[in-house]
Subunit: 262 residues, 2 copies
Amino acid sequence: MKIDVTFSATNLDELQLRDKNVVVIDVLRSSTTVVTALANGAREIIPVSNIESAVKISASLLGDVTVRGGERNGKMIQGFNLGNSPLEYTEGAVKGKSIIYCTTNGSVAMNKCRHARNMAVAAFINISKVAEFMAQVNDEFLIICAGNTTVSHGFSMEDAVCAGMLIHKVQEEQQQQVEFTDTSTAALSLYRTHGRSILKMLKNTDHGKYLASIGFDEDLKACAKVDSVPVLPMLVGTSVKLPKEDQRAPDAEIPAVATPNS
Amino acid sequence: MKIDVTFSATNLDELQLRDKNVVVIDVLRSSTTVVTALANGAREIIPVSNIESAVKISASLLGDVTVRGGERNGKMIQGFNLGNSPLEYTEGAVKGKSIIYCTTNGSVAMNKCRHARNMAVAAFINISKVAEFMAQVNDEFLIICAGNTTVSHGFSMEDAVCAGMLIHKVQEEQQQQVEFTDTSTAALSLYRTHGRSILKMLKNTDHGKYLASIGFDEDLKACAKVDSVPVLPMLVGTSVKLPKEDQRAPDAEIPAVATPNS
């Protein structure tokens, strides 16, 4: 199977992704947060591309089942209910809720995938689950790193390393023959060089340093726990959900794995 | 000194580069071709961002001292005098000429730098010369990889590896203390992984494979010869030239190093 990677979603057009198999990665923190929220019983995540859309959509939905989550400059948006820390998306905050979700890079990338054939959300915390899914589909994939448009010219090391680990797992654990491009070759190399300690790598990235500087050190630990929340969020129509078999009954206990910080 | 890298010039705005120290890299083939043309006695290279500009500018210049060079899809543009192979830019073709230069990624990136404080053109063939220059300036630098907008979502492995080798040389040979970003860290890692044989690396890249497929195998060899054409092209106003001490007198012999294929 051919695996291509884009290190930034900025120049992607949604029509370019039509009928493609895609995986969206935004390790710090959107994809980690989406995985966590759904594992903690959120009904769905509705990724939007800007605050205006978030406000419009929430006006058309029922207030008691809807929350608005997201960030600008890493901090909660005024008038929203939740920021973008995975640690905020607890069962108490999200169970049974529809989350309208607006972040600088991650939700924008997810929003662009609405005409894709398959779109899965990947982070370190659910990476083996996504590798299994890719092997099952066994067809060409594009891994979209949401990247960092604020400081790193679109590229972010943590997303590239996560893409590389995903390719490594598809190749080594799922035993798939992978056809490479420049970007998938680069991602795999960066994983091999920087993937030995994910937490150490996150602490050294541009965005990891920024998040630590505004008080989110604990988020880095949550985002670094490989396979701690093994669920597979997929885009269905315009919202990201878990497949039926992964959804918890409304009264089910939270499994121990459902918080990346546990 | 802080060294930042951008893996693509697509989203750069020329005003963002105002007063910055920048290096432009487009290994396959624009930066290699510009270095070669100037070493072979071209008076200046005028990088433009599109064919329309090239035509307009050439209409205002004298025909006998002006040539138009460049490519679309790797091939010579209709009505132009030269394509984009460094091997075409011989003394016979370029000596004393102003070259209006239009390529898909490289000339566009160079054109965006006209308000930069310093802009040097780097390829493998002149890399140590550029590293020396960076150490002399000894200030913050942005290395602009022209990248590959056609197939690799902006990124190209050969430009990233060249940026990494440049950083390596600044750090190790010029003994500068370098402050890194996500992208400069990634570039250095990619150089360390893929920089052992430059020719082998070029042959494995998306664009290297494409160029070989349309008959430019020999260009890859020319582009891979580290330090074979040790001159320092710099942007002066709107054209790229060699510093006075590197310019050859109109009747001077071509030094043996002046063709990367020699």
